[in-house]
C-alpha cells in the first residue's frame, strides 16, 4: 500500500522562465503566485495562507537580501509571516520540505512554498562567481573551481570508471531540449542535436556549453494544505507521500565517491520508504540536470538503474516521453531553465501538471506517481519527493 498523504498540493504556479529583461525577482514571483491563486478560486489567499517559505540561493544577483517578507508583501499576503530557505540549488525543495513539516507539526493548515532567482542581469563571470559560493571556499573556490568544473570532475571520474561517453551526456541535452519545445514556459524551446552539443564551446572539460543548464530568471510556487481539508479547495489535488533529505560535505574532494552522491542516495531511501514505492512505480520524474552528467548520476542514485548504467539508460530511451520513466518532461534545468531558487518548486509544478493531466503536448499517459529530485551544490544537499494523483 502507498504511504499516506503528508500534505496535499491544492494549487501551483510558475512564471515564464528565461532572460526576462526589466522584471525583478519579486515581480516574477507575483506572476507565479497569480497563477496559483487563479487556479484555486475556493481559496482566499489573504485569509487562508498562514505562512510563506521562499527559497532563494543568492542575494548577490539583485543586491537584495531578506526576500521573504518582500514576497509576502508583493503577493498581497502581508502580514502573513515569511521566511527564506537557502541550500544552494535546492533552496526551494528545502522550502517544500519545511512546508510539509510545518503542516505536519500542526502549526498551520495551509502554507505557500516557492522560490525565485533573477540571474540574467549579471555577466557570465559574475554569475559564475556567485554560483561558486555554494562550493567550499578555503579549498575549492580559493583554488579557482567553478560549478561546471565540479561536475566536470565527476564526469571525468564517471567516464574513467564506467566508460560513460560524451555522446551519452549529449543525449541528455538532446532529450531535454526536445521536451522543452513542448513547454511554452521553457527558457530555450529549441531542439539541439548530439553534434551541436559535442561541437559547442568548452566550459569545463569534458562539459561543453550544451551540457550546462541555463542561467535564467524565474519563480515558482505551490500551495500546500493539510490533506483532510484539501477537498474544500480542489477536486483535483496531488498528494505528497514521501519526502527525503540528505546532506554531505561542502567539498567534493572530501567525499568517498566522485561518481555517486551520498546525499541523493540518502534522500531517495527516505522518500521511497515513506511513500512505500519502488523505482519501477515512478511514472514521471523531474531530476536535477544542472549538467548532463548530473542527470546520468541521478538515474543511478535514484535506483532507476545500476551504478555506471546511467549513460546506457539514457541511450536506451527509457527516460524519454513514451519510455518507462520519462525524466524531465518539462525540459529540465537544461532547457526549461535553472533560476536556482525556483528550481525545486518548478520541478514540483511539472509533476503537478503531469499528475493532474494538464501537461498538454508533453503529457505522459497513465500518470499516477511522480518524483522530484533537487540537488544543492555539488551534492552537499539533496531532496527527493514522491507524489501521487489525488
Amino acid at each position: 500500500m502507498l504511504g499516506k498523504p503528508l500534505v496535499s498540493i491544492i494549487s501551483a504556479g510558475l512564471s515564464r522562465f528565461g532572460k526576462i529583461k526589466g522584471i525583478s525577482g519579486r515581480e516574477l514571483f507575483v506572476e507565479a503566485a497569480k497563477e496559483a491563486f487563479e487556479r484555486c478560486t475556493a481559496l482566499d489567499p489573504k485569509k487562508d495562507i498562514q505562512a510563506l517559505i521562499i527559497g532563494q540561493m543568492s542575494e548577490s544577483f539583485e543586491h537584495q537580501g531578506h526576500i521573504a517578507p518582500i514576497i509576502s508583501d508583493w503577493t498581497g499576503l502581508l502580514p502573513t509571516p515569511a521566511v527564506r530557505t537557502e541550500v544552494a540549488c535546492a533552496s526551494s525543495a528545502a522550502a517544500l520540505r519545511l512546508g510539509i513539516l510545518a503542516i505536519l507539526s500542526g502549526f498551520y493548515d495551509i502554507v505557500m512554498v516557492g522560490g525565485v532567482e533573477k540571474m540574467t542581469e549579471r555577466t557570465t563571470a559574475e554569475a559564475t562567481e556567485y554560483l561558486a559560493m555554494a562550493a567550499d571556499f578555503p579549498f575549492e573556490q580559493w583554488n579557482g573551481v567553478t560549478f561546471p568544473g565540479l561536475f566536470a570532475l565527476m564526469a571525468t571520474a564517471h567516464m574513467h570508471k564506467y566508460r560513460t561517453t560524451e555522446e551519452q551526456m549529449a543525449m541528455v541535452a538532446v532529450k531535454n531540449h526536445h521536451n522543452a519545445t513542448m513547454n511554452p514556459k521553457a527558457h530555450m524551446q529549441k531542439e539541439v542535436t548530439v553534434d551541436q552539443v559535442l561541437g559547442s564551446k568548452m566550459i569545463a572539460q569534458p562539459l561543453k556549453l550544451y551540457d550546462c543548464s541555463l542561467i535564467s530568471d524565474g519563480a515558482a510556487c505551490a500551495i500546500l494544505a493539510r490533506p483532510e481539508i484539501a477537498s474544500k479547495y480542489t477536486g483535483n489535488p496531488v498528494h505528497i507521500i514521501g519526502s527525503g533529505h540528505g546532506s554531505d560535505t561542502a567539498g567534493l574532494y572530501e567525499r568517498e565517491s566522485l561518481t555517486s552522491m551520498r546525499a541523493i542516495k540518502l534522500a531517495t531511501k527516505e522518500a521511497y520508504r515513506m511513500a512505500n514505492v519502488k523505482p519501477e512505480d515512478i511514472n514521471v520524474a523531474e531530476v536535477h540536470d544542472c549538467f548532463t552528467i548530473a542527470e546520468i548520476i541521478a538515474y543511478e542514485d535514484l535506483d532507476f538503474c545500476a551504478p555506471g548504467k546511467g549513460g546506457k539508460l539514457m541511450k536506451d530511451g527509457t527516460t524519454m516521453i513514451g519510455g518507462e520513466i520519462p525524466a524531465n518532461t518539462s525540459g529540465g534545468l537544461k532547457a526549461k531553465g535553472h533560476p536556482i531558487g525556483a528550481t525545486g518548486i518548478a520541478q514540483l509544478y511539472e509533476v503537478f501538471l503531469q499528475l493532474t493531466g494538464q501537461a498538454e503536448k508533453r503529457q505522459v499517459e497513465n500518470c499516477e506517481i511522480g518524483l522530484t529530485q533537487n540537488l544543492g551544490g555539488s551534492g552537499s544537499s539533496c531532496f527527493v519527493h514522491i507524489y501521487r494523483r489525488g
Binding site: E129, N143, G144, A152, L153, Q205, L258
Partner: protein
Amino acid sequence: MEVGLLALFTYTGEDEMLEDAPFTIEQFYKFIGEKKLMAAKCNKCDTLLVPPRPLCMRCFSTDFSWVELKNRGKLLTYTVIYIAPPQFQSDTPYAYGIIELEDGPRLPGMIRNMKPEEIRVGMELVVDFDVATPQNWPQWPRYFFRPS
C-alpha cells in the same frame, strides 16, 4: 632585561612552535607559506584532517597534533576550466584536479606546469607552493600540483 625576556619568548624549538599553532584553516595556509603541507592528526582516532578542524568529525575529539604530509599524490580526476570567475579569468584555460595524497587525505587544486592534453587520471603529481601573497582577501598563499 627586556631584551632577555624577548629572546626567551622568541627562542623556542620547532616542536613547541607546532604545539602553539592553532588547528585552523588560517594556520594550514600559514604553513603553506612556509612550503609545508600539514595535517592535524586526531590523537584519539588517528584520522588525518585536511583541513584541520576544531572537532574531529569521526570521534568528536578536540585533541590534535600537527604532522607534515608527504607532498606526493595520485590524480583521481581533473578538468580544464575555460569559463572562470573574474579573479581567475586571466588564467583560463587552467587545469584543476583532486589528488589523493600518499598519506591518505585528498586535496583539490590547480594543476600547473603541464599541457592539459598530457594530464591523465591516475598519474603521480607533487604538491608545490606559490608563496606570493595574493592581493584579494583572505590573502592565503597557494599550493598547486605539478608533475614530479
